[in-house]
């Protein structure tokens, strides 16, 4: 029988904890933090496919998130359809956009991809703010009260929690599968040494494109979930640079290019944000951000590979000690 590794064991405990969380913390505020955590974990894991595994650092993933967020509320606004009808349209639009972005920029290396993604996301954000059809600067609202279950407008947070948890599970499963297939090896080869990978016959451009399209699909889905849950979207909360930055920070904090890194990043960052905001936010001194910024700097300085690496080191130490004993 295969021995249970500490990482697997940790994951199993964590998965059970996630499943039981709404049963233990029935308070809507804690549930909402749980939902926020799941959403952040989905977005960061989706970003991780192209940003972590393929090493193509996008700082404009909000473009996919925003497209996914606007599509459902546009369907509701103009056709009166249930918002979730817009999810496939958001995904389709995101994939098309991914192709448009990827084609020119993936031929280049270095920071060009990062720069291009920032520019395109900003372009879309500013443009959305001037376009009345999508609500311009004021934004779009979802149904205030549900007309039926299909509106996915629930009074409590629990249904959202389990829907989001389901999406996260699917995404992690897909990522896990990729990791072990040839596609995953190609991605890591590109990240490590793109030129070498190309000379060994890896179809670099095609692999990068596929990774970006897959990443865009799930980021768009995360955006749709956000919009349906919040019932509101405007240019800043859909396409704002902070949306993109949050994905990068969470993935990098936990460990980019690892399956559970983004999960760990979200697990630390989201409760930290909620806690500092609860304790210091009302004082309005900006202490929330000073702490937040300080922690990010410290982790980048002392744990540049992300916290997941720390976990690996702890596990390794524990093992060697046991072997020694």
């Amino acid at each position: 029988m295969k021995r249970l590794s500490p990482t697997r064991l940790g994951f199993a405990v964590f998965a059970v904890a996630l499943l039981l969380y709404p049963l233990v913390f029935t308070n809507p505020f804690f549930l909402d933090i749980g939902v926020t955590f799941l959403l952040a974990a989905i977005s960061a894991s989706a970003w991780n496919i192209v940003g972590g595994y393929a090493g193509q650092i996008s700082v404009g993933h909000s473009m996919f998130f925003g497209l996914g967020a606007y599509a459902p509320l546009l369907f509701y606004q103009w056709l009166g359809w249930p918002p979730m009808a817009g999810i496939p349209i958001g995904i389709a639009a995101s994939v098309v956009l991914a192709i448009i972005i990827g084609m020119p920029t993936f031929r280049l290396t270095g920071h060009y991809f990062s720069m291009a993604t920032i520019a395109v996301a900003e372009l879309i954000r500013i443009f959305t703010g001037t376009w009345d059809f999508v609500g311009a600067a004021i934004g779009l609202q979802g149904p205030a009260t549900a007309r039926g279950w299909w509106d996915l407008t629930f009074r409590g947070e629990t249904p959202y929690y389990y829907i989001f948890l389901g999406v996260l599970a699917v995404l992690l499963f897909i990522t896990h599968t990729i990791e072990r297939r040839r596609f995953g090896y190609y991605l890591r080869a590109i990240k490590a040494r793109e030129r070498a990978a190309r000379s060994l016959g890896v179809p670099v451009l095609q692999i990068k494109m596929k990774a970006l399209m897959l990443s865009a699909t799930f980021t768009s889905l995360a955006g749709s979930l956000y919009a349906i849950k919040t019932g509101f979207i405007d240019p800043e909360s859909g396409f704002g640079i902070l949306v993109s930055v949050q994905m990068v920070i969470i993935a990098a904090l936990g460990g980019a290019g690892t399956l559970f890194g983004p999960l760990l990043g979200a697990l630390i960052l989201i409760p930290l944000q909620s806690a500092t905001n609860t304790w210091f936010g009302g004082g309005g001194s900006g202490l929330t951000y000073i702490l937040y910024g300080g922690i990010i700097v410290l982790i980048a300085r002392f744990e540049p590979g992300g916290l997941f690496e720390l976990w690996h080191r702890v596990v390794a130490k524990y093992r060697s000690r046991r072997h020694a004993a």
Binding site: T130, I138, G281, G284, G286, L287
Partner: protein, 417 residues
């Protein structure tokens, strides 16, 4: 650094006391307030926070010197056995999803009896929806978007006038001026392009059409612009008789400087509150913006008056004069406190009913409204506004004439000596 550690320690101590705190919450009324205390709108949120704290002080302690202002004479809420108001502030950072989470937290965790907020319309949209779901009254102190009220919500009230009220005020003013022989053949509207500027500019354009006043040009722009000369040159080309600016702080100051630098002075400039009312505006550009008009329902008044005393209290706390935005939030706060007192209970439904029955008279207000009375959508229908004009280093009330304390200057002097 020392101070920061003290703040940190104080916050930690508060946290420890939290448990003990819950026990004594019974004899106080909790008001949860959600504002942007950090982020791009932090200045407005911070100023309003200080205003709410002054308002709570007025309600909680005996202030007989403040005349007819409801709840000022007595300490606490008399109908609730002298219960005090307790404010719980939360910072939504301008993020609508966070505003939603904070509304949930304040209702379910801090167990507030009523909510107030949220400045940006985006955050008001999401936070009010939570209050509606939980059946907790929500007082929208100041948010521009028209459809925050009128979505069929039962629990949402808005104490401040809205864009269409302002637009009608401007049109009445123009009609008055025309009667006096002033030339107003065309106006220009320059608006920042987020929810605030867009809502107000739309309303003005619509009312101008009704009033048959041509809009020579409408210029939406982004408030984070570092240079506004193109806008000023566009105005210079069209030569309108009145320019209405709907701007935030940095941009309103920048406009005044750029108008002077490019030597273009329209006959009259009207600033739509916000940036023109920011305490930073007058020190920065008073010398070159003489005669600029501004809308405001707030006037500091003569020494000895109730408003003057309120301003003194605010000044003692912050070192700055109370601005119109914070004052409107403060007025909404008083209306809310008055309703809680009349309800005689912390039961949300009773407070909601009391809010619908609100009927405050002009002499009971700190603002220049005709009263506070909510229609079936929750909008205050008696809210109105004055027009003020910059003379020297202060704004004087110049319109309507019945309330005016100074003579209207037309055309404006600008930077002329």
């Amino acid at each position: 650094m020392d101070r920061s550690w003290m703040k940190f320690a104080a916050a930690a101590a508060c946290l420890l006391l939290f448990g003990a705190h819950l026990a004594e919450a019974a004899d106080s009324v909790k008001i949860g307030i959600i504002w942007p205390l950090t982020g791009n709108a932090a200045a407005a949120g911070q100023a309003s926070k200080a205003a709410a704290e002054v308002a709570a002080d007025i309600v909680n302690n005996a202030h007989p010197e403040l005349g007819d202002l409801p709840l000022a004479k007595t300490a606490g809420l008399p109908n609730l056995g002298g219960a005090k108001l307790e404010l719980v502030f939360a910072d939504h950072q301008g993020n609508p999803s966070l505003a939603q989470q904070l509304a949930t937290r304040l209702i379910t965790q801090d167990r507030v009896n009523v909510l107030m907020g949220a400045y940006q319309s985006s955050c008001s949209f999401t936070a009010t929806a939570v209050a509606e779901r939980y059946g907790i009254p929500f007082m929208v102190g100041e948010s521009a978007a028209l459809n925050i009220t009128g979505r069929g919500f039962k629990w949402v009230f808005r104490g401040t006038p809205i864009a269409s009220d302002y637009a009608r005020t401007y049109m009445r003013f123009f009609a008055d001026m025309k009667k006096q022989g002033k030339k107003i053949d065309s106006i220009a509207i320059v608006n920042e392009n987020t929810d605030y500027g867009t809502s107000v500019a739309d309303a003005i354009a619509a009312e101008a059409k009704n009033a048959n006043i041509p809009v020579a040009i409408r210029i939406p722009y982004s408030a984070s612009s570092t240079d506004v000369s193109a806008q000023v040159l566009q105005l210079k080309e069209k030569r309108p008789d009145v320019v209405i600016f709907i701007s935030y702080t940095a941009d309103s100051i920048l406009y005044m400087k750029t108008l002077k630098n490019l030597d273009y002075k329209p006959p009259m400039i009207i600033g739509d509150d916000t940036g023109f009312s920011d305490p930073s505006f007058i020190p920065a550009v008073a010398d070159i913006a003489q005669g600029v008009m501004n809308r405001s329902a707030w006037a500091i008044g003569k020494p000895g008056s109730v408003t003057y005393k309120i301003n003194e209290m605010y000044k003692a706390k912050t070192g700055r004069d109370l601005d119109d935005t914070s004052a409107r939030n403060m007025q909404s706060f008083f209306a809310l406190a008055d309703a809680i007192n009349r309800a005689g209970s912390t039961d949300p439904e009773k407070i909601r009913i009391a809010l619908t029955q609100t009927d405050l008279k002009p002499e009971q207000l700190m603002m220049g409204y005709q009263g506070v009375k909510f229609d079936s959508t929750g909008q205050n229908i008696l809210a109105s506004t004055y027009l003020i004009q910059l003379h020297g280093k202060t704004y004087d009330l110049v319109w309507p004439e019945r309330a005016a304390t100074a003579q209207l200057q037309w055309p404006m002097a600008g930077w002329a000596k």
